[in-house]
């Protein structure tokens, strides 16, 4: 590992700035000022992160095909970076905004689908991706009386990130930014399966991020024009318990957001567990793909 790998880049400096001085300033500055600085940072990042922008453009071209013009791809990639920065900046002020004030700034659609799924009494897996509004969606669920279990990774091992980011910044980020008021469940925990099962048994909600391979059980599928590994461990629990699977998308920030719960997935039956997983997983991957293609600039992992 070279020194530049260990203490990389402008990106690391940016994250360090975000996590320490900017986060501290965000605790007392007016929210409007923070959003303004966030927008400013977004434009600076968008101008400087040309390699990342190029990667995003390649990915968008592969995913969207020839139907999208070059200008549209350029504009989308710029918006991807702006939205990513805006989303991270918004995380700093989200907890300063009261629930009522927050809910007035956005729309929630399809809540009846979640309610109907819960009526079955077998628990619900909310499947989603890393969209810009996911923190708001989690806050909405929590405040609306739908406590949920979120599963996070204790040790970051993003191959695209530097050693500094994986070793220190991401865990610190999880600790100070992603805190939800209750102890998180880590994918590395020996009893993660039991904790999920317990929540499902209580007819509760478990949020599954389908777009990150946080599982010992992975399947590879074509996704947005390339191959990607996905977590499938939760589908084994669905097979065993009969829990419902409801897709959810949350986009935007605390000044304007949109949360959408889709109809529970009509899961295909199968005599064997592996067959059940394979059949239904294809359906879920297609749902995630269509969610991303509807709002590509709001998907944070592009």
């Amino acid at each position: 590992m070279t020194t530049s790998d260990r203490f990389s880049s402008l990106r690391d400096i940016g994250i360090l700035f975000y996590l320490v001085p900017f986060r501290m300033a965000a605790s007392f500055l007016p929210t409007g000022a923070i959003r303004f600085f966030g927008l400013l940072m977004g434009h600076v990042y968008s101008a400087l992160a040309y390699r990342r922008k190029r990667r995003i453009q390649q990915r968008l071209r592969t995913a969207l095909g020839n139907s999208t013009t070059n200008d549209e791809i350029m504009e989308l990639s710029r918006r991807c970076l702006l939205n990513a920065v805006a989303s991270h900046v918004d995380a700093l002020i989200l907890n300063r905004i009261g629930t009522q004030a927050l809910l007035e700034n956005g729309k929630v659609r399809g809540l009846e689908h979640l309610k109907n799924a819960l009526l079955k009494g077998k628990g619900v897996f909310l499947v989603t991706g890393h969209f810009t509004g996911i923190k708001i969606a989690c806050r909405f669920l929590h405040e609306s009386g739908y406590p949920h279990l979120g599963i996070v990774k204790r040790h970051a091992d993003d191959p695209g990130a530097s050693w500094l980011e994986n070793r220190y910044l991401s865990p610190y980020w999880s600790k100070v930014i992603d805190r939800t008021g209750h102890a998180p469940v880590f994918v590395e925990d020996k009893d993660v399966g039991l904790k999920i099962m317990k929540r499902v048994r209580e007819n509760g909600i478990v949020i599954i991020f389908l777009d990150v391979p946080f599982s010992q059980h992975l399947l590879t599928r074509p996704f947005l024009g390339s191959e990607q590994s996905f977590p499938v461990g939760f589908l084994r629990i669905v097979y065993a318990t009969g829990a419902a699977v409801v897709p959810m998308v949350g986009i935007g920030n605390s000044s304007a957001f949109n949360i959408c719960f889709e109809e529970a997935v009509n899961l295909r039956e199968a005599a064997r567990k592996d067959e059940f997983i394979a059949k239904n997983f294809d359906i879920l991957v297609k749902i995630l793909e269509s969610q991303i293609l509807r709002e590509p600039s709001h998907w944070l992992l592009i």
Binding site: K190, D191, G193, L194, M197, R201, E202, H217, R236
Partner: protein, 97 residues
């Protein structure tokens, strides 16, 4: 049902429902269940469902803890106790009617 019968049926469930490529003796010889599952925490959830079907019982959510699933002995004792409690409740219910 003796404690040995309960243990035998749990081992059967493990091999059948978790599709373990092991014979019963290898399962009996395992000191920790997580070694058996290769640290697969999802397998425990499948084991729970398998045991519930096998013994026609329901393991309450509040009992779902690592302690019960430490090894074959702790699991067997727990299932035996649950069976005993359910049988007692059934007899008490019959007495009342």
């Amino acid at each position: 049902m003796s404690i040995e019968d309960v243990k035998d049926r749990i081992v059967e469930v493990m091999i059948r429902d978790l599709e373990l490529a092991l014979n019963p003796d290898e399962v009996y010889g395992t000191s920790r269940l997580d070694e058996l599952f290769g640290m697969d925490s999802i397998a425990i959830t499948e084991l729970i469902i398998g045991i519930e079907k096998e013994f026609n019982i329901r393991i309450p959510a509040e009992d779902l803890s690592v302690e019960i699933f430490q090894n074959l002995e702790t699991l067997t004792e727990y299932v035996k106790k649950l069976l005993h409690d359910e049988a007692t409740m059934y007899i008490e219910g019959q007495d009342k009617t």
